[in-house]
């Protein structure tokens, strides 16, 4: 069964100027259980608004959202929805509630009324899962941004959700912090089968997803495997997004007449593809050309 499903989902912020302006327009999506989905788009594309629909922080103005079969508009099911879909936000400081790490991780299970002994095991387990077990008694403000964000993820894991939505969770982190967070998330997906939805505007973060959804002006613009979508360089450029550097390089080479596939996303793949193409060129080229290459 699908984890998340939207059907003709529309949304407009009621209190905002220019009333009736839709931030989301008739979106129909399904997210499969156990998958990693990246949602990409620039500011104002509606990607964060969409994320908040997934755990009933915002409710649809039109259409429906189902989480594991629960309708998010049904108030009685709200708690069920929220315990299934955990959210991690951009600013780690503004989502840590307690002033000791383990107390913060315990916050969600405490709210759910989990018995004390089980909270203990859940907290230890969640902290181990994000690699922060040694920091249980620390004060959060003494940790780095990446560590704080991992604590925030642990706080969500302790809820034992089936899906985690990261709403630009790496935007405020340094490169090392970003790597740690992404690695943690991928491991959770691999080892526990947690469905991951990543909202981001970093192309390279989208690489590791099974599926990439590109949003533009409240609509789904592109939807498919990252490999496929990154090849559509011109379409991405049309809405102000750029493909990863590797793909851009391959695209330029192609336009120069070198026969390379656009599907090589990672640096290693890209290098391999270029080498292979050059070798093939060498073989096919007539003898006279070789000297030309050498001179070059």
């Amino acid at each position: 069964m699908e984890m998340l499903k939207t059907e003709r989902l529309s949304f407009a912020y009621p209190e905002r100027e220019g009333e009736g302006q839709l931030v989301l327009k008739e979106i129909g999506l399904t997210v499969e259980r156990g998958s990693i989905v990246a949602i990409l788009g620039h500011n104002g594309s509606g990607k964060s608004t969409l994320a908040k629909q997934f755990n009933a922080v915002l409710l649809p103005s039109g259409g429906k959202v189902w989480v594991d079969g629960f309708d998010t508009a049904d108030e009685a099911a709200q708690l069920e929805v929220r315990r299934r879909v955990g959210m991690v936000f951009q600013n780690p400081d503004n989502q840590i509630v307690a002033n000791v790490v383990e107390e913060d991780v315990a916050f969600a299970p405490e709210n759910l009324g989990v018995p004390t002994e089980e909270i203990r095991t859940r907290v230890d387990d969640a902290l181990a899962a994000v690699g922060m077990a040694n920091f249980a008694r620390y004060a959060p403000h003494l940790l780095s941004g990446g560590q704080k964000q991992r604590i925030a993820i642990a706080g969500v894991i302790a809820m034992e959700p089936e899906c985690i939505v990261l709403d630009e969770a790496t935007a405020m982190l340094d490169p090392q912090g970003r790597r740690d967070v992404l690695e943690t998330v991928r491991r959770l997906n691999r080892e526990r089968g947690v469905t991951i939805v990543m909202i981001t505007h970093h192309m390279d973060e989208a690489e590791c997803a099974d599926r990439l959804i590109v949003m533009n002006q409240g609509e789904v613009y592109l939807d498919g495997a990252p490999r496929e979508i990154f090849q559509r360089v011109d379409e991405l450029r049309a809405i102000g997004l750029s493909a990863p550097e590797t793909v851009k390089l391959l695209d330029s080479l192609r336009k120069e007449g070198l026969d390379v596939p656009l599907s090589a996303i990672s640096v290693e793949e890209c290098a391999g593809a270029i080498c292979a193409a050059l070798k093939a060129e060498e073989k096919n080229a007539p003898k006279g050309n070789e000297t030309e290459w050498n001179q070059f």
Binding site: V57, R82, F89, Q95, V97, A98, E103, E110
Partner: protein, 267 residues
């Protein structure tokens, strides 16, 4: 500059005073204050001072730290002492203009100063040996029965612990804003009090705005983690009374009874 502020004033340790249930400590402080107000003469005050000394020794909190904590309150102490000295009716020793110094007044001033000093040191000893979180927990727990009277006990405790959690964050932020303003030529150090207060406005406004934004985001994050008020909540750390708690409470009660009896006899 702002980083120097010490808040909560908790000195971690592992003495009996630290391990005691925070509720016990809170109740002991209340009893101690009651006893202080029943004390009258040297004997009863002596008993109270002796008991405090014993507690300080057990807690291994430096006596100097306690006295240092009193510093900001010295003005209040002097003020009450002077008021008591001159405004207590009785046998006059000296008088000038509208002021009359009385024998009773001098004694009242001495006892009042001792009383306030003991009271402050007693409460400080509690905050020095109890972490703010434990204290919040204790308050929530002890005030629990008030929930029946629709007092929002859980909400108050939650507010307190969130406030404690955000103090370092906001201090850091204030520091950043001040540096940013200084870089653009703001001057916080010179001028009279009024001018310095005015210079703080460009710091406080952005700080407030950001605090509101933080509050909004935190509220969303809390909702996302299934927060729905205090109903049906469980705890990671459950407070449990031990034998030592009973022992300390009984000791405190006996001291209080002693002070009350001595006080009522006028000693």
């Amino acid at each position: 500059m702002l980083k120097d502020i010490t808040l909560g004033q908790y000195f971690p340790g592992n003495t009996l005073a630290h391990r005691l249930d925070p509720r016990t400590k809170l109740m002991m402080v209340v009893l101690y204050i009651v006893a202080l107000f029943c004390a009258k003469g040297f004997l009863s005050y002596g008993l109270m001072a002796l008991f405090l000394l014993l507690c300080v020794r057990i807690s291994k909190v430096g006596f100097r730290a306690l006295v240092r904590g009193m510093k900001p309150l010295i003005l209040i102490l002097i003020f009450t002492a002077v008021l008591n000295m001159f405004y207590t009716p009785g046998r006059a020793i000296a008088s000038f203009w509208v002021f009359t110094l009385t024998v009773e007044g001098v004694w009242a001033a001495v006892f009042m100063v001792i009383r306030i000093a003991l009271l402050i040191m007693g409460t400080f000893l509690m905050t020095y040996t109890t972490s703010p979180i434990a204290l919040t927990d204790a308050i929530e727990n002890l005030l629990g029965p008030l929930k029946r009277l629709r007092v929002p006990v859980h909400e108050l405790a939650m507010m307190m612990s969130i406030a404690l959690r955000f103090i370092p964050t906001l201090i850091e932020e204030a520091d950043k804003i001040m540096s940013a303003q200084k870089a653009r030529g703001a001057d916080f150090e010179t001028g009279n009090l009024l001018r310095r207060a005015k210079a703080m406005a460009p710091v406080l406004v952005p700080l407030f705005i950001s605090a509101f934004r933080r509050a909004d985001e935190l509220a969303t994050a809390m909702e996302c983690r299934c927060y729905h008020g205090g109903e049906g909540r469980t705890k990671l750390h459950v407070l449990r009374y031990q034998k030592r708690d009973l022992f300390c409470l009984v000791t405190m009660a006996l001291v209080m009874i002693g002070a009350v009896i001595l006080g009522s006899l006028g000693y």
